[in-house]
């Protein structure tokens, strides 16, 4: 059976995580490290140790901002940003509850908006997110001024060949 490390390495499709010698440059440069349960380099060690449950259930993978500072500065080109993507995707594929649930709910609302119109409609997407997350009151103070300034349009934008966009979702999702 494939170990957790082998599984992650295969999906990263680049330099294997074993190349990390824990210089901690990734963690030093990570703008979200201080909010994370485990620092980026510690996640690598945990993957090597086979601690799959702990890693995929951690807040760390959802607090990564994908700013790509880690891969930019890694002396061994270990793609930690891609690793975080892979870990999130694995957590989703396995149907695990995201420790930072609203982060995933926001992504889902965003993708629904693309599926709906081919392009994202910010207002519908926000309403959808609020319904999913139950976070009804944040930013309600900003919304009216955005609307008055014409930043929030009422009509959702549309890609004409919507079928081709929905087809992308169907086919890439059936694969996994």
């Amino acid at each position: 059976m494939e170990t957790f490390l082998e599984e992650v390495n295969k999906k990263i499709h680049g330099v294997p995580l074993q190349a990390c010698y824990h210089c901690r440059k990734c963690t030093a440069g990570c703008p979200a490290a201080s909010y994370m349960e485990f620092n980026p380099n510690k996640v690598i060690k945990m993957i090597q140790n086979g601690q799959k449950d702990k890693v995929l259930s951690s807040s760390t993978i959802w607090l990564c901002l994908s700013c790509e500072t880690c891969i930019t500065r890694c002396p061994n080109q270990v793609d930690i940003a891609r690793m975080m993507d892979v870990l999130r995707q694995m957590a989703i594929e396995e149907g695990r509850a995201a420790k930072e649930a609203n982060v995933l709910k926001f992504h889902e609302a965003f993708l629904s908006s693309i599926k709906f119109g081919g392009r994202v409609h910010e207002m519908l997407m926000t309403v959808h997110y609020k319904l999913k997350s139950g976070d009804f009151f944040s930013d309600v103070d900003i919304a009216p001024s955005m609307f008055l300034k014409g930043k929030l349009s009422l009509l959702p934008p549309r890609t004409k060949d919507l079928k081709s966009v929905r087809n992308i979702f169907e086919k890439t999702q059936s694969k996994s």
Partner: protein, 282 residues
Amino acid sequence: MKVSYYPGCSLHGMGKEYDQSMKAVSRALNIELKEIDDWSCCGASAAHNTNFDLSVALPARNLIAAEKDAMDVMVPCAACFNRFKMAEHHLKADKDLKARVEGVLGAKYQGGISIRNPIDVIYNEIGMDALAAKVVKPMAGLKPVSYYGCLLLRPPEVCQFENYENPFMLDKIMGTIGADVKNWSYKTDCCGGSLSVSKTAIVVEMCDKLMAAAKEAGANCVVTACPMCMANLEMRPSANMKMPVFYFTELISLALGLPGSKETFKTHLTDPQPLLNQLRLV
């Protein structure tokens, strides 16, 4: 020059000031824009966070559409630019993926056109001499810090932007239109945009840190080329930390005296008009 143009969802929504000023500046600098036919969303962070093939196929649909026009594609939004470059990178590096994505889209990806952002196009194709020659209103008194953020630069071997730890093109452009650009150490730091809605408390701290650094550098405004950074830096800093944020194209438009250049300032969430009035730039 003529380029394909991919505005992306933001430039037709929250970032409409970027679209408006980009079009005005392009016209003035003889960059002819041909919008990609029937484009769709690039998937942004939501796609690559959740499904790898989706994150490549969504931008690939637009790249293939752009290839029909056989011109380089200019992508002003830093987030879309990043996803386009990432898709190109993966499609060229991974044959199996390319075959899968082409199967999903029912079309071939040739990989023959370059993906460019307007900072690069204006700096390298138009050039600073040509830009300087068109300036009618130098931005005297404006002290911006250039904020490049993440998505134009990283990862460096994918984005191929100059000097990814200390970029200068945007600084040079601002200097050319007469602004007193301030140097600072946060040009490429992350503002937290991707968690702006879902983890706001963290992002407030990140934005406050950036604004404090900008003030310490002596800046009176921030200049960006990213609609995510713009929305985030306008909305998220604490009330006492806010300062005006501009798309770089808005300031070029103003310096070139282009029609409608003052209109985009009216729709900002942090009103830049008091500063511009005080400096007699509008």
